[in-house]
């Protein structure tokens, strides 16, 4: 049976801190929609990725979720010179005949990596394409049926003008990526934020890794001001959040707490619990489709869990029970991660996704990733925050049913040791 294959070029954003996240995001979205596609990894400075798909609808569906896709083009031709590109496209005329015949309107534009073209230059580039490719439709600059693009690749931007062209491709512009959907969730205009609120775009990237969507239940055990839950809820998920800190949950006033943020964006209200992640509060069952977390890993404003430094703590008197604030002890990063992986293994459905940020020194090695017999790591992308350290966005999928004797393995955190040493003045 003949199945038509369409060739798409996904133009990617080149934000320096998100380069490693681009391919994992695409893979997560393709997987979520059950669209099989081969996505070849590209080098960090590469501006696009080519993906063959059976339909345009698939490409659009993926792009409309992808924060790190700038736009999608159906590619008809390419070459190292314009002549080569035109000849290549002419050989594929059948692919774009429906979008260029006398019944439709179209326009042409020039786009480029690494430089900009003035209008006369653009015209000079476009004329041979229009003349050489047999366009019969009507040119219409405002709101045409189809837009065709000649995309010139001059490599990385440079201070010098007019870099020579490395290659060029020609195709039909399909749609933009999802970045603009998230502008309205910017922290700058959000009602209630705190020092650890996650930037809206990063939260959206996390929510994509978690495959948050309508019909699924997502839990965030370190919900804080709700940044990650907001992104998941905006994608249609039902969200549940927990936090140990009552003050963060209740906020300063009814219009300055996490619920106010959900109201601001007209999202369905989240379910919120005050809980301590170091003790399991959920039954062992496939409750969640995803767990997403930005664990508190600041060493100075360190994470806390309920506990007492005393070998045997004094019992809380009956008359104080209603108002007693539980004592807390330092909750180490290693313990946080072990509890997080165990929670995911116990209370997530098979195929569910655990997505979390893992702080790491720049010299981090593969062997330092936490692991669990129930979970398989499918993605981990690094974002440098300083010269010495940064964080991984880690995605794990539940691939084995939980067994009572399963335990997480969390190697010592050299990141945590580094900061303890800094505190003690042992390093710079």
């Amino acid at each position: 049976l003949f199945q038509r294959i369409m060739k798409f070029r996904f133009i990617l954003y080149a934000d320096i801190d998100k380069l490693q996240h681009r391919i994992p995001e695409l893979e997560a979205i393709f997987d979520m929609y059950g669209i099989s596609a081969t996505i070849d990894p590209v080098s960090p400075d590469h501006p696009y990725v080519d993906i063959d798909l059976p339909s345009e609808a698939d490409a659009i569906r993926v792009a409309q979720r992808a924060v790190l896709v700038r736009l999608v083009i159906e590619k008809y031709g390419e070459g190292t010179t314009h002549e080569e590109c035109i000849a290549d496209a002419a050989a594929n005329f059948a692919r774009f005949e429906p979008y260029s015949n006398e019944n439709v309107s179209f326009k042409f534009e020039v786009d480029a990596f690494g430089r900009k073209f003035q209008v006369p230059e653009q015209r000079a580039i476009l004329n041979p394409y229009i003349a050489g490719l047999g366009f019969k439709g009507k040119v219409q600059l405002n709101d045409p049926d189809y837009t065709f693009t000649v995309y010139v690749d001059c490599g990385l931007p440079s201070a010098r003008e007019a870099l020579p062209m490395k290659s060029v491709f020609f195709g039909r512009k399909l749609c933009l990526g999802a970045r603009a959907n998230w502008f309205k969730y910017s922290l700058k205009t959000r009602k209630f934020i705190g020092p650890t609120s996650m930037d809206a775009e990063w939260a959206a990237i996390g929510a994509n890794q978690a495959q948050a969507r309508r019909g699924c239940v997502v839990f965030d055990p370190f919900a804080g001001t709700g940044s990650l839950l907001i992104a998941c809820a905006a994608l249609g998920a039902t969200v549940i959040g927990g936090d140990r800190d009552v003050r963060i949950i209740r906020g300063k006033a009814s219009d300055r707490n996490m619920f106010a943020n959900f109201r601001q964006y007209a999202l369905p209200m989240p379910e919120i619990l005050i809980l301590d992640s170091s003790v399991p509060s959920f039954r062992t069952a496939p409750l969640f489709d995803a767990i997403i977390a930005d664990p508190p890993y600041g060493v100075r404003a360190g994470a806390r869990r309920t506990g007492s430094k005393a070998a045997k703590s004094k019992p809380v008197l009956e008359e104080h029970k209603d108002t007693h604030i539980p004592q807390s002890v330092v909750y180490s990063l290693v313990d946080i991660l072990a509890d997080l992986l165990q929670l995911a293994a116990r209370s997530m459905r098979m195929g569910g996704r655990l997505v979390y940020w893992l702080p790491a020194l720049v010299s981090f090695t593969e062997a330092e990733f936490p692991s669990h017999p129930s979970l398989t790591r499918v993605a981990a992308s690094y974002q440098g925050l300083t010269r010495n350290w940064g964080r991984f966005l880690v995605t794990m999928v539940k691939t084995q049913e939980y067994q009572p004797d399963f335990q997480p393995i969390v190697p010592k955190s050299r990141y945590e040791q580094y900061f303890v040493a800094c505190e003690a003045g042992d390093t710079d």
Binding site: T238, R250, V279, P280, T306, S308, H324, S328, R349
Partner: protein, 123 residues
Amino acid sequence: MRILTHNMLMCNVKKCNMQGYPLKIVPSQVETVENEFNPEFIAHMIPKLDWNGVISAAADLNITNLPPTIPAGAASDETFLRSLHGLLLDITIVDGQLVCKNCGRSYKVSGGIPNMLLNEDEV
């Protein structure tokens, strides 16, 4: 706290060893707010529910007309899904207590938020 969430929660006192389920709801203020009915979501939730937990929560709220087991074909029975939606998502326990039937530990619900924190002498 809605019943959907109640269905997931258990007593976290260590000696209960995950036997503290379901928690008894002792409500002092309950609100009912209608939410958008999403049959796919409710159908998707059915296999995740512990039905004894659902019956127990309903009984605590004086709702007693639930079938003893999930009826066959529930996922495509709109009447059933609607009543389940009403129970799981529309009812909110605003204030009250969640009490472990195993150890007697009580967790306070205040302003719709259950406080599952243990005290330092309990961990």
